[in-house]
């Protein structure tokens, strides 16, 4: 039996927009296993990003419980949550969200620096992940000197550099052209297979969705299907 990385148990999320309450998630339960390559699919407003934010300890559920590696997130303070995000989770955002004053190398190195990793380990690790995402030779470039696809590759390198047990990617291909998007999915797939990194990413791009090994569909904040596909 495979080990569970994320347990989402009857989670709801209600936002208040002025006097109107918007229910973004309604009683969603799902368990993500170690090594999963899962896609959250669904139309805009279905609750994909909300669920990713909750799993990523960036937001708190209104109801229900989320556990990461068996640890209940609701029992943790903000400092402990920051530490958890640093050590266990890698993030890839739709808009790349790199630190603009740092080079590609430094962006990938950032989480390792926060972790206080020794210089030799940082060097070895950053070089390895930059090689893995195909950015050799571009280490010294700042984000503004890289294409969208290259920036997203740096974001992936940053997400996996510190060796997290889980990578969350919110619409990682949304701002990329089809070919670059497909290459990025290939890259993440490769990392998933070779390094056993668990990936959960959201997308409504059919080409991305068809690559999913596990497809979790959401509609109106509810889980409508959860299917596993053969590798």
């Amino acid at each position: 039996m495979s080990e569970s990385v994320v347990e989402v148990d009857r989670v709801s999320k209600v936002y208040a927009q002025g006097s109107v309450k918007v229910c973004a998630l309604r009683g969603v339960s799902v368990t993500i296993q170690k090594g999963d390559f899962a896609v959250l699919a669904g139309p805009s407003g279905s609750g994909k990003t909300t669920l990713l934010n909750l799993i990523g300890a960036l937001d708190e559920p209104s109801e229900g419980r989320i556990a990461l590696d068996g640890v209940d997130l609701s029992r943790m303070r903000s400092g402990a949550l920051a530490s958890l995000r640093l050590h266990r989770i890698g993030f890839v955002f739709q808009a790349y969200n790199l630190i603009p004053v740092l080079t590609a190398y430094e962006n990938a190195e950032y989480p390792l620096l926060l972790q206080g990793a020794p210089a030799a380990r940082r060097r070895e690790r950053v070089q390895r992940v930059l090689d893995a995402v195909g950015l050799r030779g571009l280490e010294g470039r700042r984000p503004t000197e890289l294409s969208g696809g290259q920036q997203q590759r740096v974001a992936v390198a940053r997400a996996i550099a510190a060796g997290p047990s889980l990578v969350l990617a919110d619409e990682p291909t949304a701002n990329l052209d089809s070919r670059t998007g497909a290459e990025l999915v290939d890259l993440m797939h490769g990392l998933n297979r070779e390094h056993q990194v668990t990936f959960i990413f959201s997308s409504h791009d059919p080409k991305v969705v068809e690559r999913a090994e596990r497809l979790i569909r959401l509609e109106d904040g509810q889980l409508v299907s959860d299917e596993r596909r053969a590798r």
């Binding site: 960036l58 400092g79 920051a82 530490s83 955002f93 969200n97 603009p100």
Partner: protein, 421 residues
């Protein structure tokens, strides 16, 4: 190291804004050092002139003599006190003096004057009035033993304006009248004009005369007593130590008091204190402007980067580290601004400290402050401690101004911050 790297890169990100802020900071510090240096220099010059023109750094006199001008409140047995004072290493000159009011008559004209009896042998080296530099005609006073004839009138040394008002020339005979100790009939004595001085101070030039100490003691019936002993020190910084030492030495002589120049020249001292207060007030305005500038820069920088800061939080940067990052950015501004400010400020200070500023050129005339005429050149003066203090004050203001923006960052929610455009 990461925090410092981020701070430095952020400084470089908006170069123009960073440079303008740094310049404002540097100019604030430079201006402060220059203004304080010149004010210190001017004050030191005023004290030096005030002290040399009259009172001395420390004055020993009969208790209440300054207010009452009562010749019964004098310093008896001054020799012992003079000897004790001269044993102190900080005392350059110890001057016995008699000061009183009198009436100077020349022909039909009379002028009320302040008369000072001095020791002609030691006064020229110590006092500005008696110095050769201030002499416009004749020579300085002689003791009776130095006179050509034992019974000839003693010498008198008078101010230039007084000489002009009474139409007096060298060798002219005048009569000085004063009320002697214990009251009674005014006493008079004749004097021959020996020399004329000009200080630029109307009070001294128009209404002041000096005569030999023993002549003053005889005229006023003081015997061997004096009205004050003025001490000239190597430096004004030694005043407190000398006052303490003299007070200890005079224990048991309750009729005497030891006054620092701040009490003997109260008007001058209060003027300096008031001027310092004005300078500090101006500095407060500069501090506020610099503080607002820094606050604005750091806050703008934080608001502009809300999204970026949200991402940093999302990927695991703690609130404490973000606080440190913003404060480090402010520290980078402070360090660069202070280095530039010190370079500019100390260069100007160094120039003014060595070359000086011509007071007459600056003000078009001699500048009189609290009865002291500032003339010649004014030199900037800054103690190392003051430089360190002012630099620390500016750096402190920068860090203080950054506190709110840094604190604001710690309150960001990653999700909200990342939605910021």
């Amino acid at each position: 190291m990461l925090t410092l790297r981020l701070a430095w890169r952020s400084f470089l990100r908006h170069r123009r804004r960073s440079i303008i802020t740094t310049l404002a900071l540097a100019l604030g510090l430079a201006m402060m050092l220059v203004v304080v240096g010149i004010a210190n220099g001017a004050h030191a010059r005023m004290v030096e002139l005030g002290v040399r023109m009259g009172a001395g750094h420390v004055v020993i006199e009969g208790r209440g003599y300054r207010e009452e001008r009562d010749l019964d409140r004098v310093v008896e047995g001054p020799a012992e006190i003079l000897a004790a004072a001269r044993r102190l290493s900080q005392v350059r000159h110890a001057l016995p003096r008699v000061t009183a009011s009198g009436l100077l008559t020349a022909g039909d004209a009379s002028v009320a004057v302040g008369l000072t009896g001095v020791d002609p042998a030691i006064e020229p080296a110590a006092s500005e009035v008696a110095s050769k530099a201030r002499r416009v005609a004749g020579d300085y006073l002689r003791t009776r033993a130095q006179l050509e004839y034992a019974n000839q009138p003693a010498d008198i040394y008078i101010g230039s304006q007084l000489a002009e008002n009474l139409d007096l020339g060298l060798g002219d005979r005048v009569v000085l009248t004063a009320s002697p100790r214990g009251g009674g009939k005014p006493a008079s004595a004749a004097f021959l004009v020996r020399g004329v001085f000009r200080t630029g101070m109307a009070e001294l030039d128009g209404f002041s005369v000096q005569i030999p100490l023993d002549e003053a003691q005889a005229l006023l019936g003081l015997g061997g007593a004096v009205t004050e002993i003025a001490l000239m020190l190597d430096s004004p910084d030694q005043v407190d130590a000398v006052v303490t030492a003299m007070k200890a030495g005079l224990r048991g002589r309750g009729e005497l008091e030891v006054l620092p120049w701040q009490e003997a020249l109260r008007e001058l001292y209060e003027t300096i204190v008031l001027d310092d207060a004005g300078t500090y007030l101006m500095m407060v305005v500069v501090f506020v402007i610099v503080g607002i500038g820094i606050f604005n820069t750091v806050l703008m920088s934080v608001i502009e980067r809300t999204r970026e800061l949200g991402v940093m939080m999302a990927i695991g940067t703690s609130a404490r580290r973000l606080f440190a990052a913003v404060m480090t950015e402010a520290a980078v501004l402070a360090v660069i601004g202070c280095i530039a400010g010190l370079a500019v400020g100390l260069s100007i200070h160094s120039y003014v400290a060595t070359t000086g500023l011509d007071v007459q050129e600056m003000f078009g005339n001699k500048l009189a402050v609290a009865g002291v005429v500032l003339e010649g050149r004014m030199y900037s003066r800054l103690a190392t401690g003051a430089i360190v203090e002012w630099t620390a004050v500016i750096a402190g203001i920068v860090l203080l101004s950054a506190l709110y923006p840094a604190f604001r960052v710690t309150k960001l929610e990653p999700i909200e911050a990342m939605r910021h455009v």
